[in-house]
């Protein structure tokens, strides 16, 4: 009887050990290491939009460097702003933490 009980407790311990091996541990989201690359994408994207819009507007209105200059600056601001909004959004921020 005692032997059987011992065997059962032994089995229980083994089951527990095996279970802990496969237990689901909530990991840190994969995204957190990539904030820098995210910022680069946003900045270059903003710059590209500003440059393309400015270049075409200048071509349309014959005001060569004016709109290109203004819109590149605005585009960089927009890129930063996109990144800021992403980081400040409580829902998307939850994914980062």
């Amino acid at each position: 009887m005692v032997d059987k009980k011992n065997k059962l407790t032994e089995l229980e311990v083994r089951i527990k050990a095996a279970r802990s091996k496969f237990d689901f541990q909530p990991k840190k989201p994969m995204y957190s290491g990539n904030v820098g690359l995210h910022l680069v994408g946003d900045l270059v994207g903003g710059l590209a939009v500003g440059a393309i819009l400015g270049y075409n507007l200048d071509g349309l209105m014959n005001t060569k460097p004016l709109f290109m200059f203004i819109l590149v600056v605005l585009g960089i601001c927009g890129g930063f702003y996109n990144f800021y909004k992403y980081e400040m959004n409580p829902r998307s921020r939850k994914l980062d933490e």
């Binding site: 995210h38 819009l53 829902r91 939850k94």
Partner: protein, 244 residues
């Protein structure tokens, strides 16, 4: 030594010109078609049995589906269910493109900005349609953040407009840049093996080990980039669904 950028060369497989427009079937088209086919076959095979205790294939798709669904619900909110097919299709297609590019002698379609920008543009246009469908003309207020002084409105409107328009650009640039960087790195490390192997076989072991690790890491990056593309699509979708 061969050029590390040669792997991104577009090769014309089936020349076709309709009314002056080049509609040739290239290796990029082949890779994209194969990715779509792989995604369809994988989904069909994985959901064929539908047992209560899932097998390996079924659990792989269940894990991905649940991860994307929880992300979408966390970002968009509780009425996320009707956007799930769209978001999950985007995820599985980008994932298949990335993973197919990891096979030797294959072509990685997502390393071309033309491909990623087309995907990002589809996401951007769809999200705009959803926004106007849900809110009508009021959707334009996405360009005006709440609680700013009147004097700042024109400047903020322009910055918001630039930020809004730059979304598809940054979305596509991020994916393509990551893929290009990874593939070039693999190619250069592979060249190191050959160069050091010419000197001594023993010396080539170090880049070989490094390359093996990097290839594993690149497979992880392929998954991660598909996930990031999806997260950002969700974040942009949340603006269109929950107007501030």
């Amino acid at each position: 030594m061969s050029n590390p950028l040669e792997q991104f060369k577009i090769i014309n497989l089936l020349p076709l010109k309709v009314d002056g427009i080049d509609l040739s079937f290239t290796n990029a088209s082949l890779s994209l078609s194969l990715s779509a086919l792989c995604a369809i076959v994988y989904m069909l095979l994985a959901t064929r049995g539908q047992s209560v205790i899932p097998g390996r294939l079924q659990s792989s798709i269940e894990v991905m589906y649940m991860q994307i669904e929880s992300t979408l619900q966390g970002v968009v909110g509780n009425n996320h269910a009707k956007y799930m097919p769209f978001i999950f299709s985007v995820f599985i297609f980008v994932l298949m493109c990335n993973l197919l590019g990891m096979l030797p002698y294959s072509f990685s379609a997502t390393s071309h900005i033309a491909v990623t920008f087309a995907m990002a543009a589809i996401v951007f246009v769809t999200i705009n349609i959803i926004g106007f469908w849900n809110h009508g003309v009021r959707y334009f207020s996405v360009l005006l953040p709440g609680g700013i002084p009147i004097a700042m409105v024109p400047l903020m409107f322009l910055i918001e407009l630039c930020a809004y328009l730059s979304r598809p650009f940054s979305l596509s640039l991020r994916l393509a840049a990551n893929m290009v960087a990874g593939h070039i790195m693999i190619k250069i490390l592979a060249m190191f093996i050959i160069m050091s192997g010419a000197a001594s076989l023993f010396l080539s072991a170090a880049p070989f080990v490094l390359l093996t690790i990097i290839i594993g890491f690149e497979i992880f990056i392929a998954l991660l980039q598909a996930y990031i593309f999806t997260i950002l699509a969700c974040v942009y979708l949340s603006d269109a669904v929950n107007l501030h």
